[in-house]
Symmetry: C2
Subunit: 476 residues, 2 copies
């Protein structure tokens, strides 16, 4: 048997022949990313059902130096889970590893397998009378293993942190097929290097995450959603600070929206409200409380009233019903869909120190308006975390395709200014294949070298998701 | 010049001759740990005042393969900052690097140098109208660089996490003397591996932390301190769960104390109250709120009343004044001092899943009582984090020195049971030299191998704090 036949026999022995997919029709859904930007090929797609099966697959690949691409819900934004065009790789699709392994109410932890969808994890937490705070648009399809491997952000980072902060323990299959059992449910453990940190956010380049122990929290039992108008982004930053001082941990969401963003969202869903017409910028505010009859509504109103008096906000409205609260959030969450309907646009997922956001936006608007006449700024995002989805649409009278040709120029302006303001060119979506070139441009060569030292230490053959995340090694 | 003379000349050139200490009288304070358990020798103690000076010192040591031991306040519990007896090492004392580099209120961050004391960091946060939550007994002397390098825990982990969760960015001098500037103040940054995680908790074995960007929070403006009696530890775990459900993030402290611990604390400070005499176990509860006139007191009382009705607590008392609250905390915090006055005792710093604490304590009491007749259990700690200071005193009629000879036997029983219950033999104090042997015994060889791979990748010469944290490499 040649190597290829040997590998396929070993894969079939590892997971059962029915779970080794090689026919084009079977593998296709695994070879194109969700946004349809990356198309790859693969030697096979294998669907293991247990950690032991994953380990057997990795051993088979390690023995033949075959690249391995781990994939969960295939919903990533940067092509990190899509194989390259060579057709050399085996795709390890983890969707069959979807069990809850343990629920521990008294410890407020949940042990889950990597292939559970985020929505299923949230539900398992609710079933235990607790709450798992990670939440993002793809939650019905994305898998917790992918969330961990990309250190996903989402809408509750302001209070609960990124996925990294929500993980207490991991089980990881290493590049040689050995299994590291780090499934500890401990809030404090200082026994040597915290190895799980290596695998969180590494996009499958250092090991295959197969299970995790997650932190759970008390569910919110009362909430308040509000909308505030401000004259500029500087005032939005002041409002954020003022609300944090009063609401403390109750403040779970603080989303910035420009007037154009509100109009765009309503254009494509006209039933949505326009709560405070005639202002240039808005903040959508979400506060909640674990206590059922808490003062969170009264506190939020008082804080907004004080901000009005201090000239920090121009106007404010508090949702008076669940429906009003839901409509405000739909106004925000519909922006992505509205943009899609509006046609192609140039997207960015940037973060900055919150204090630097106003100066950044002013500088970027100046330079982009000069370089791309008529450009429209679709500026919105998680201002509470300094994370902006800073998207650019062309003028209404220019074909989107024409405008999109200017993407490289726009990216250069946006990312150069991000670097100059101490920010990040990928706040929550990761690097994958999409931003590898940008990373090479903006990352300190010393840091790239450190990343490679870690990579070589953990995956000396380089079989785990090659061509992702890490730029080419620097010459030093 | 021989190597030694060359090194000393380079050190003097790096930091100035006045800051290279070699006379016994000058170096002595740096060569013995705070508890007086470890005594080392050193070629020199150098006191750099800037990152550039640290880098020059490291380059000098790297060129001569000289071991380097970083030291902050020298208050560690495990001898991690004390050089070994060989006299080969250079001690890098960071106390002169004690500046605040930046305060960013709108971003709620503070950039500080490694040699600032924790108390000075807390004060700098207060001066900005914000709050840095890390707090522990040594805060007047310990340095933030040491807190970061040991991933310090302390009294507010339940709400704010360990030091790891409080660090947004680091500046680190690497083993070859190059400087990695990772001083980013970003809440979200997914641009490749999160390298700062490597250095947090590594006890100076992977790099020298010289500065950090820390997360700040809204200060508490109202609080409630309470004391509850429970019939056993299982009921204490139930109470913790019930309080978390109602108080949510307001619950910042939940400390377990046995009756013996209360009595011991009062024996050596008789002015302290005995709020609820005649119960076997107690919980000290601290709740607070960022809002000034919050319902935190009423909520805590209501939650305790419900727990009384449900049979979870046997009795409860809420502090009615700042003085009463302070006394309750002194009752808890005086335990360490009372134990010291009582004479030598066998200390442990263990953690467990909170749900496993009752079964663990029952099993440990059984085995220890059988092995060490008359042993007295001084059980207390941060139950909210599953972290117990599980200390053992001898019978009153046995000389402490006689009892202490049984320490190895006691450690074996305590740590074997910790391992069997999924716990950690070092919850918050780290490994240093003290627990290196225990780590070798309890850590999965695969994990030790991974630690060594990381160590070799970052410090190929092995000059950074050799003989600390990592057990001997496993033969595989």
């Amino acid at each position: 048997m040649d190597d290829r036949a040997t590998l396929e026999a070993r894969l079939a022995a590892a997971v059962g022949p029915a779970h080794v997919l090689t026919a084009d029709g079977d593998t296709e859904p695994y070879l194109t990313d969700w946004r349809g930007r990356f198309h790859g090929r693969a030697r096979a797609v294998v669907r293991p059902a247990s950690t032991e099966e994953v380990a057997a697959v990795v051993r088979a690949c390690a023995a033949t130096a075959t690249p391995l691409v781990a994939q969960g819900g295939n919903t990533g934004h940067c092509g990190g889970a899509t194989p390259d065009a060579s057709g050399d790789a085996v795709v390890l699709a983890l969707g069959r590893m979807n069990r809850v392994r343990a629920v521990d109410r008294a410890n407020a932890t949940l042990t889950v397998e990597a292939g559970m969808t985020l929505a299923a994890v949230q539900q398992a937490a609710r079933d235990a009378g607790l709450f798992f705070p990670l939440s993002l648009a793809a939650e019905g399809s994305c898998c917790i293993g992918g969330n961990i491997s990309t250190n996903a952000g989402g809408t509750a980072v302001l209070r609960y942190g990124n996925t990294r902060e929500l993980v207490l323990g991991l089980e990881v299959v290493l590049a040689d097929g050995s299994v590291w059992n780090g499934l500890r449910g401990l809030r404090k453990d200082n026994t040597g290097y915290d190895l799980k940190q290596l695998f969180i956010g590494a996009e499958g380049t250092l090991g295959i995450v197969t299970a995790a122990v997650l932190k759970l929290f008390a569910p919110a039992r009362s909430r308040c959603t509000a909308f505030a108008a401000v004259v500029d982004v500087d005032h939005a930053v002041h409002l954020l600070h003022a609300l944090k001082q009063t609401l403390g941990d109750r403040l779970v969401g603080f989303e910035l929206m420009s007037r154009l963003t509100v109009e765009l969202s309503r254009k494509h869903l006209p039933s949505l409200p326009d709560p405070l017409p005639g202002h240039p910028w808005y903040a959508l505010i979400e506060a909640n409380d674990s206590a059922a009859d808490s003062a969170v509504g009264a506190l939020t109103e008082a804080a907004l009233a004080a901000a009005l008096e201090d000239g920090i906000v121009a106007d404010a409205a508090v949702a008076r019903s669940e429906q009003q609260a839901a409509d405000l959030w739909t106004l925000r969450e519909n922006v992505a869909e509205a943009q899609k309907r509006e046609g192609p646009n140039i997207k960015h997922d940037i973060s900055l120190p919150v204090s630097a956001v106003p100066a950044y936006l002013a500088a970027a608007a100046d330079r982009l308006a000069a370089a791309l006449p008529g450009v429209r700024f679709v500026t919105f995002g998680h201002l509470g975390d300094g994370n902006l989805h800073y998207n650019l649409s062309g003028p209404e009278d220019v074909a989107a395709e024409t405008f999109m040709r200017q993407a490289p120029l726009a990216n250069r302006i946006v990312h150069d200014l991000v670097a100059a303001h101490g920010g990040s060119i990928s706040a929550e979506h990761g690097i994958g294949q999409l931003k590898r070139g940008e990373l090479a441009r903006y990352k300190d060569p010393l840091e790239i070298e450190l990343m490679w030292r870690v990579k070589r230490a953990l995956d000396p053959q380089g079989i785990l998701n090659p061509g992702k995340v890490l730029p080419e090694p620097p010459q030093r």
